[in-house]
């Protein structure tokens, strides 16, 4: 079918030239050596990957995984009851779900800025607390790990709610009735019936939140104030201030590999889900 090839060609071309080729070039860069003033030069080497194993960088990897995991757990904690509420509500399901998605589609930069406006030393929360004489000096609410986690949870909560809603919505209410008839309290019914049956949704949501958190750049950059460094920030600094492109490229590819490995877990879960 010739028409089909013509239809696919532009997209295939874009994906190859503007996605795969750049990754291949990054791969080549990661195997080269940094020049005295930046840039990339021969000889070929795997030194950049060896350097990535330095305890300094392993600590950043660990911190990224840890912050992403904490954010994911908090998203689940916030998202599960919310998704359950939407799925069990009699009317306005679509509206309630859209209200969760809406902030995600507006500017991520502005949403981060909104939190900065609230949490800065001179921000609204500290101004209020000082005005009410609850605290004397501004609380350090911004530019720390907690603020980064807050920003990540805020940014990616919709990714948790959507798959959770999809599984919870399909849950047969008769199963719950049965549990209640057999004397289960709401809490027991939730723990022994609802949660086990929504495992695929929980897994999908966790992966969907964990992946973007792991590669986050903007939130740790703005809300961590340069103090909380995650892998994304490490990559960015290598390509800009440090001018060490080969090392930055090596970190990028390792991060990409990590993301793909986590995503594969999702794909397997997805097969069970559908």
């Amino acid at each position: 079918m010739r028409l089909r090839s013509i239809f696919l060609a532009p997209t295939a071309l874009v994906m190859v030239l503007l996605f795969f080729v750049p990754l291949l070039i990054a791969l080549a860069y990661s195997l080269l050596t940094r020049g005295p003033y930046g840039g990339v030069f021969p000889p070929w080497t795997i030194e950049n990957y060896q350097r990535a194993l330095d305890p300094l960088y392993l600590a950043i990897l660990w911190r990224s995984v840890w912050l992403a995991a904490v954010s994911t757990a908090l998203c689940l904690f916030m998202g599960f009851p919310l998704a359950l509420y939407i799925a069990r509500s009699a009317r306005h399901k679509t509206l309630l779900l859209n209200l969760v998605m809406l902030p995600f589609w507006t500017s991520s930069l502005i949403r981060t800025y909104a939190w900065m406006f609230l949490l800065r030393d001179t921000g609204l929360v500290n101004t209020l607390l000082e005005g009410l004489h609850i605290v004397r000096a501004p609380l350090p609410l911004l530019f720390n790990d907690g603020a980064v986690v807050l920003g990540l949870v805020y940014g990616f909560l919709p990714f948790m709610v959507l798959p959770l809603y999809a599984t919870l919505e399909k849950l047969d209410p008769a199963l719950l009735d049965a549990a209640f008839d057999l004397g289960a309290t709401p809490w027991v019914a939730l723990r022994r019936v609802v949660v086990p049956l929504s495992k695929p949704g929980i897994a999908a949501g966790c992966v969907l939140v964990f992946i973007p958190c792991l590669g986050a750049y903007l939130t740790p950059d703005l809300m961590g104030g340069g103090k909380t460094v995650m892998l994304g920030n490490l990559v960015q600094s290598q390509f800009t201030t440090a001018r060490d492109w080969p090392f930055g490229a090596a970190i990028s590819l390792l991060l990409m590999l990590l993301v793909l490995l986590v995503a594969r877990a999702l794909a397997k879960q997805g097969e069970k889900l559908l």
């Binding site: 028409l3 089909r4 239809f7 696919l8 532009p10 997209t11 295939a12 874009v14 994906m15 503007l18 996605f19 795969f20 750049p22 070039i25 990054a26 916030m78 998202g79 009851p81 359950l84 509420y85 939407i86 309630l96 209200l99 969760v100 809406l102 589609w105 507006t106 500017s107 991520s108 930069l109 502005i110 949403r111 800025y113 939190w115 406006f117 800065r120 001179t122 921000g123 609204l124 101004t127 005005g131 805020y154 909560l157 590669g215 750049y217 903007l218 703005l222 994304g232 990559v235 960015q236 390509f239 492109w245 930055g248 490229a249 990028s252 991060l255 990409m256 993301v259 793909l260 995503a263």
Partner: protein, 253 residues
């Protein structure tokens, strides 16, 4: 239990919307600091009189419009072709581009452009930003188009070809008109993701192609600025309206 869930959900919605509402309210605050001093439109006025912001907005609009036009057209064609017959490698590639951290897409595109510039007298600028935006927004178009085609009745196409239309005519006169709401929805989503992007854009933009998000970022870094509040409020409302429009189009028959 129901009441607990309702309370919990209420708190979650408050968490999602309160920061944005507060930002919007304080964009009308006449004081420069975070205490309420009275109502004013001054910050909106100064946003509109800021020449640099105007230029940034124009850059962002040009980039978003061109990238959206290209992505929507070629993404629609690809979505249609993928619906006819699967092409797992292309679908996987598109999903990979969705999963890839923005910072990685950004630096690898930067690496590509710097490498390509060795062979010509080219520089980073609007054109490199547009190319980057096309590559990361394509997947959104394909997803929206494929989602719509899943509920599309193939009998409509068969009827047209039984009546003597060739493949192109079927696509042009039957499929496209029926897909139009989805195509528009895809375009609107493309526009919002493009207009909003900071991370990738900041890496592949040249000195003369600063976009609105890049300016907001620079201002957010410096500290609280009521001008940013006003600008943010306008962008959030604007993008919000586009998204609502898109979701309405997606559902319309």
């Amino acid at each position: 239990m129901r009441r607990f869930l309702a309370l919990y959900a209420g708190a979650a919605y408050l968490f999602l919307y309160l920061p944005l509402v507060v930002l919007g309210v304080f964009s009308f605050n006449s004081s420069k600091i975070a205490t309420w001093r009275g109502f004013t439109f001054d910050w909106y006025r100064s946003v509109f009189h800021n020449a640099a912001l105007f230029e940034g907005t124009m850059n962002s609009l040009i980039i978003a419009l061109v990238a959206t036009a290209v992505s929507t057209v070629i993404g629609t064609l690809a979505g249609y072709a993928l619906w006819k017959k699967r092409a797992p490698w292309l679908t996987n590639a598109l999903y990979m581009s969705l999963l890839a951290p923005e910072i990685i897409i950004g630096v690898s595109l930067l690496a590509l452009f710097q490498w390509a510039f060795r062979f010509g007298h080219l520089r980073l600028g609007l054109h490199t930003v547009i190319l980057a935006h096309i590559s990361f927004s394509l997947v959104y178009v394909v997803i929206v188009i494929l989602a719509r085609l899943r509920t599309f009745d193939p009998a409509l196409e068969e009827a047209a070809s039984d009546l003597g239309a060739n493949r192109w005519q079927v696509f042009r006169h039957v499929t496209i008109p029926l897909l139009m709401p989805a195509i528009l929805a895809a375009g609107l989503l493309c526009f919002t993701v493009s207009f909003d992007d900071y991370v990738i854009t900041s890496l592949v933009a040249g000195v003369d192609s600063e976009t609105l998000p890049m300016m907001i970022y620079a201002m957010a870094r410096k500290g609280i600025s009521p001008e940013v509040n006003a600008l943010s409020a306008m962008i959030t409302v604007g993008l919000g309206v586009l998204v609502l429009l898109a979701s309405r189009l997606e559902r319309s028959r």
